[in-house]
Symmetry: C2
Amino acid sequence: MARRQRPAREEPGTGQQGGQQGGRRRPKAKPGSRRGSRAPVSAAVTASGRKVDAETRREAILDAALAVFAEHGYEAARLDDMAARAGVAKGTLYLYFKDKEALFEALVRGAVSPIMGRLGEAAAAPGMTVASVLELFFAMFQKEVLGTRRKLVLRLVISEGPRFPALAEFYYREVVSQGLKMMRNVARHGVATGELSSEALARFPQLIVAPLLLATIWDGLFSKIDPLDVPGLLRAHRELLLGFSARSAP
Amino acid sequence: MARRQRPAREEPGTGQQGGQQGGRRRPKAKPGSRRGSRAPVSAAVTASGRKVDAETRREAILDAALAVFAEHGYEAARLDDMAARAGVAKGTLYLYFKDKEALFEALVRGAVSPIMGRLGEAAAAPGMTVASVLELFFAMFQKEVLGTRRKLVLRLVISEGPRFPALAEFYYREVVSQGLKMMRNVARHGVATGELSSEALARFPQLIVAPLLLATIWDGLFSKIDPLDVPGLLRAHRELLLGFSARSAP
DNA sequence: GTTATATGACTGACTGGTCAGTCAGTCATC
DNA sequence: GATGACTGACTGACCAGTCAGTCATATAAC
């Protein structure tokens, strides 16, 4: 009877193995034998004397959770896996997050916030041309999203968003609408200065980011079959947006 | 003890209710009391005399499966739901498909094939300009994908593809690589005739389809918050691709 | 310095609801 | 009477969430 056989799983306990501080084991302790089979996140002792401070542990859990959610999707992600990866017991997850959903949302929220601010400054700098903003924006996306595990978060939002309306709304509010507003302002500026010959981008700033989305999805689906030359793609994209030959380098 | 509480479910038996052909019910038939609580897909009797022919039933199952997979994602989709929607018992699903995964793959394969052929003819017609091919291609995508449940299939591929390498490869082979090849040929043609002033599209035909992808994802995530004017988006996109003012109408 | 007690972070076996897949049984049709 | 499409109760793996129990550390008392 073939049963809910899941795709390949990592073996448990793949976290950082290490300084098991030899708590004596009794032959058959009923429940909870401390440090039973798991390594602490770090052997370093914090200033307060605790083995690992709460923030570090929280990060470790979020880190592990991202890996597992990204690999299996929300529903198929097992909390046991996350716990094992984070080097804690499952119960510990519940000391830090109310439930699976809260953990998932915390993950997305945490990955999003730090980026948007920096983008804002860049786009608002005076004397910026459209070409230079696009250059900067695309470089930033490659470095901070495609080049990091944040791309996994973006993919999770795309995949799981339809089933988490609250998440989609949060993402729209914090990322999409803000990003589009910036891009729209840049485009309007470009039209005003004559750098852009069409109002298309001012009306649909989505056209600026569409290839970034494509690159993210391609990376997840086809990169093994046919890797995408993302820098080349984005250069070509800038070329089209700016209406031919815009081969500027910073 | 809060347990795997799933998101809102449709009540079972939402399929086409109808002609229960009054098979007599015994008070407590042990197993399988035929036509227990479910409506047949159709009351029409086929030429061969069977209540419903195999192909029709297969379609009904695929139809129901698409709805359930699309709503809940692969893992969270319940075969019981699909069966209820299709108006059959769960066991019947296994007469038509080996298992959940085979059903999922059949779904995607079935939705994909009919489209590609037509696109091919359109792009190969002699005397076609880039502008007219794009016009046609975008219209076709709006009508045949965004306008139908095929968009759900596309979204499923995007969402579940990373966990189904075989599916991603199939989709790449049958759709992506073929579509890009066509687009690349069209772009090369455009460069040769002078209709396109840049080789960007010939190098990265992905740039042509990126906004279609964006539209599909937007529709799934944000359409309730901020609906996207897809025809406008694609008009603006054509404008940019063709290097300004391309406001043609068919 | 040593021992006793308190604290709370952490553990992991366990519970109970869930659901993919099975198969003995039913019945319309041949 | 035989065939085979169809049924649906059932099995057993599965896993989110719980909580009684453990122990490192801190603090107090001697």
